[in-house]
């Protein structure tokens, strides 16, 4: 009798709690159109300059090096997720939150970041600079 009563109470409590716990978890949002993105147009950026653009749901960084080469990287710091920026004075990528530093290939070179920034591919399509995810990235 006690088992029946206890079991009934337990299942009753579980049937109330389960929907509440599920309700607390937000539904996942599909990453629509985030694999291929026009970052800017040719001639829009100056050498030794940068631009932050929206890539899917996250920010990404497009660099035009002093040598005239385009590079695209994730702008999300691998330490604690702040948005990084290019420092033309240092020729490096810098995170203002915890003073993390990356080189122009996204390699973590000083400060607390534990991993390099994700790299993206850059293509030229007409006069548009298109950034896409690397396969397997």
């Amino acid at each position: 009798m006690e088992i029946l009563l206890g079991g009934g109470l337990f299942t009753s409590a579980a049937s109330f709690l389960y929907p509440i716990l599920r309700y607390l978890v937000p539904p996942s949002v599909p990453n629509l159109g985030g694999d291929d993105m026009v970052a800017c147009k040719v001639g829009e950026m100056r050498p030794n300059g940068s631009k932050i653009f929206r890539f899917g749901t996250r920010p990404a960084l497009l660099l035009l090096t002093a040598e005239g080469e385009y590079r695209a990287l994730s702008a999300v710091c691998t330490h604690l997720g702040c948005t990084v920026q290019y420092r033309p004075d240092l020729h490096a990528i810098w995170c203002a939150c915890h003073n993390g530093m990356y080189d122009l290939n996204g390699r973590n070179v000083s400060g607390p970041p534990p991993r390099p920034l994700d790299q993206f591919q850059v293509h030229l399509r007409g006069d548009e600079i298109v950034v896409s995810r690397k396969h397997g990235a």
Partner: protein, 364 residues
């Protein structure tokens, strides 16, 4: 005097129905110890007073605030520029939040160094510590509500830290953010935490904390207690009502004066609206009460043996917080060793927090 008669009539009316005199009797008997360290007793009361200020000004801000990413910043701007005395109400709310946490920290360290957590007051300490964590939660959730750049990145870093906790961290981060990233969904959640969940929990905990203080009375420092035992004629007590109560009211009045002056002379700024795709600005740092943790995370190297630096930092702070709650059980009065551990932990924690906070402000 008709006023006196009216007052006596109301008291009589309440007494007939609820036994008012019986209910108020313990309050009349209650006393507060008097000694050279008595002034530390005021800090708990001042913290409570500032919580009351937060409730009142928070309700006033709710009349105009709109909790959505598209409107939050603009609604705070509206409060500060268009609503009469809106700037003052918001400034008082921000200043009182900071002063409340400062007073809570002072209250905690005074309880620690005066060893007021000793048996039978262990659970008073535990409930107080949970209240301090709730106060930090109030600060963290409220900081995001104006939806400005500083708040956006502070929330990004803070919730990312939660995400680093092994096993459950990622789920906790998703729960806090309302998704993978800090967005308008995070703002809505934080608003709910700030105005409904946390106030509800804090009210229950405050009532429990006060009930425990009432039940066990106010602690006397061990040195004074020893002297009072050997020289009972030196015992000095003050009636809680009205003697201590009126002194406490004076302390509240001074706190209100300081608060009003700070809010009026240094009105709280708003900054720039959060841009989800802008880089973190230079000089970014959290509120002062999180600065020692922020600075520590800055100093830990990326890898320590096999652990990521930030994971190690978070695990160490988590462990320190858990040990801190359990301090009264370490110094349980049976061994001299326990007392020394707690005292050393207190001195170390106080020095560490002060030093890293100053370093955080001084560092680039």
């Amino acid at each position: 005097m008709p006023e006196v008669n009216l007052f006596a009539h109301i008291r009589c009316w309440l007494d007939e129905r609820f036994g008012w005199a019986e209910m108020a009797a313990p309050l009349k008997k209650k006393t507060v110890p008097v000694h050279k360290l008595s002034y530390w007793y005021f800090f708990g009361g001042i913290t409570l007073f500032l919580f009351g200020v937060q409730v009142c000004t928070g309700i006033l801000l709710l009349l105009y605030y709109r909790p959505s990413a598209g409107e939050a910043f603009e609604s705070v701007q509206y409060i500060m520029t268009r609503v009469q005395f809106g700037w003052l109400i918001r400034s008082i709310h921000s200043w009182a939040a900071n002063l409340m946490i400062l007073m809570a920290f002072l209250h905690m360290f005074s309880v620690l160094f005066l060893r007021a957590y000793r048996k039978p007051r262990e659970l008073t300490w535990v409930s107080g510590m949970i209240l301090l964590f709730l106060a930090l939660g109030f600060g963290f959730s409220g900081y995001l509500l104006p939806w400005n750049t500083l708040a956006f990145f502070a929330t990004k870093v803070g919730t990312e830290i939660t995400g680093q906790v092994p096993i459950v961290g990622h789920r906790m981060m998703i729960f806090l953010r309302g998704g993978e990233d800090v967005t308008g969904a995070t703002l809505t959640r934080f608003f709910g935490f700030h105005v409904a969940l946390l106030p509800g929990l804090a009210t229950v905990l405050i009532l429990l904390h006060l009930a425990l203080v009432q039940k066990f009375g106010i602690s006397v420092p061990p040195s004074v207690e020893t002297r009072w035992k050997t020289e009972p004629e030196s015992i000095r007590q003050r009636k809680f009502f009205p003697n201590f109560f009126l002194r406490e009211l004076m302390a509240w009045y001074i706190a209100l004066g300081v608060l009003g002056a700070l809010a009026a002379i240094y009105p709280w700024g708003l900054g720039t609206k959060a841009d989800l795709f802008a880089p973190a600005p230079a000089g970014i740092r959290p509120e002062w009460y999180f600065l020692f943790m922020f600075q520590t995370l800055k100093l830990i190297p990326p890898k320590v043996i096999f652990l990521d630096g930030e994971v190690l930092g978070i695990l160490l702070f988590g462990l320190a917080g858990a040990v801190w709650i359990l301090l009264p059980f370490i110094d349980n009065g049976r061994r001299q060793f326990g007392r020394r551990i707690v005292l050393s932990a207190g001195v170390f924690a106080f020095s560490y927090i002060v030093a890293l906070t100053i370093y955080g402000y001084a560092a680039k």
